[in-house]
């Protein structure tokens, strides 16, 4: 199995599971880049532990996706052999880590989104997805506790940490619109009681985020032009570089195992 695999025009459920899986996988890989570079040992361990949780969630989701897809692929095939335009992740998660403030701000916005999303999916009509969601939901809540705690500490910290956090938030904001977009795939699954309704998620996300930002003395950026396209394989240039590193071994030595 040396060439790329291509899962286009997937049926809605498979498409949706791949979107969830790719968000977890791509952010897990990003956070893993902090290994050996954290601002303090404890923080490095925290970020890398979150990376582990996300990769674990991605594995469960990709295994399920592979079963739904049905041509005999496994989780590794889907992670390592798909090309960038076949990844469905949000642009938010593929952005480079930049500094600690940026990583924390992105993490907090994403964790908040995941908490709402998996909280809904725990009760969804697809039993397998509901089980994975129950596990991921617990993990997202403790990730949020950590990332929100740091965002408050940085925002309400020194002039420098405040400036960097506000700057991070301002830079990230244009990637948040995509979190709550909907399309035919999601609308069909919402109707079936499988997907979470983005409008419902948005309401709760707004309320919780405003609460965190108030405590962090940070200003919520105003909504301007929003970037979009990740769900449909239209990515920033950053994803390609990440995949080149993440997939290198399996591409250079197809089927290599430990």
């Amino acid at each position: 199995m040396s060439g790329s695999i291509d899962i286009r025009a997937a049926e809605p459920r498979l498409e949706y599971v791949l979107r969830l899986a790719d968000n977890a996988l791509v952010l897990g890989q990003r956070l893993g880049e902090w290994c050996g570079r954290g601002p303090a040992l404890e923080e490095e361990m925290a970020l890398v532990n979150f990376a582990l949780d996300l990769v674990g969630q991605a594995r469960m989701l990709l295994s399920y996706a592979a079963e739904l897809e049905g041509s005999g692929y496994d989780e590794d095939d889907l992670a390592f052999l798909r090309d960038g335009m076949d990844f469905r992740n949000l642009l938010l998660v593929e952005l480079p880590n930049r500094d600690f403030a940026f990583t924390i701000a992105r993490q907090c916005l994403f964790d908040l989104y995941q908490c709402g999303l998996y909280g809904e999916l725990e009760r969804c009509a697809d039993p397998r997805l509901a089980q994975i969601a129950a596990k991921a939901s617990k993990e997202s809540r403790y990730h949020l506790q950590h990332s929100a705690g740091w965002l408050v500490r940085l925002g309400d910290g020194t002039a420098e940490s405040h400036r960097r956090s506000q700057d991070a938030l301002d830079r990230i904001w244009r990637y948040t619109g995509e979190l709550f977009e909907s399309d035919d795939v999601e609308r069909a699954l919402v109707a079936e009681g499988i997907a979470a309704d983005p409008d419902v998620l948005r309401g709760e996300w707004d309320i919780q985020l405003d609460r965190i930002l108030r405590e962090a003395t940070l200003t919520r950026p105003s909504d301007g032009g929003m970037a979009s396209g990740g769900r449909h394989g239209r990515h920033t240039e950053h994803l390609g570089y990440m995949l080149a590193e993440m997939q290198f071994l399996q591409r250079a030595y197809p089927g290599a195992t430990w």
């Binding site: 897990g28 040992l41 404890e42 361990m45 925290a46 532990n49 990376a51 582990l52 949780d53 996300l54 990769v55 674990g56 969630q57 594995r59 469960m60 509901a130 089980q131 994975i132 129950a134 596990k135 991921a136 617990k138 993990e139 809540r141 403790y142 506790q145 950590h146």
Partner: protein, 168 residues
């Protein structure tokens, strides 16, 4: 009748065998005491249901391999290992025996029930007792310790640094 009796004995024997399988990261405690073994079921052949602690727990596969070896060595090659993720693992499933062993080993066991919600990694308001001297005059050094499931604490009474098993 004989069949059923044999199977009951097999299930019992498998439980006994699993009781001897240590957790790879905290070898003082068995996977049964840690609550990782959810059940041993008779489906004509024995089915061992195991659950991961954390989604990304690197020990999950090693645990499965060890269980496989133990079962094969004892002549239960037909026994099946099944991973179940629901309901999600919680520290509430650590047995009393497991908690006692953790303490003896120098790890403070989870202080609250995760079921109430309050326990979920909060920990901040909870009195964590030092596993060495028992004092609750302890402070958290880091939310993350030697493994994802533990936080790092220090006792202010006897100065012992120790791991605390977080509530999840």
């Amino acid at each position: 009748m004989t069949q059923t009796q044999t199977n009951t004995a097999v299930i019992k024997e498998i439980w006994r065998l699993l009781q001897s399988v240590p957790d790879p990261e905290i070898p003082i405690i068995s996977i049964v005491d840690l609550g990782i073994v959810r059940d041993v079921i008779d489906e004509g052949h024995a089915v061992v249901a195991v659950t991961p602690t954390y989604s990304g727990c690197p020990a999950t596969e090693m645990i499965e391999q060890t269980v496989r070896e133990v079962l094969d060595d004892a002549g239960y090659a037909d026994a099946e290992i099944r991973t179940v993720i629901s309901p999600a693992w919680t520290t509430d499933w650590i047995s009393d025996e497991g908690r006692r062993k953790l303490r003896e080993y120098g790890i403070a066991p989870p202080a609250a029930s995760a079921a109430g919600g309050r326990g979920l990694f909060g920990g901040a308001g909870l009195a964590i007792a030092c596993p060495r001297c028992g004092s609750t005059e302890t402070s958290r050094v880091s939310e993350f310790g030697s493994t994802p499931c533990k936080a790092h604490y220090q006792c202010r009474a006897c100065a012992e640094p120790f791991d605390y098993f977080k509530c999840l």
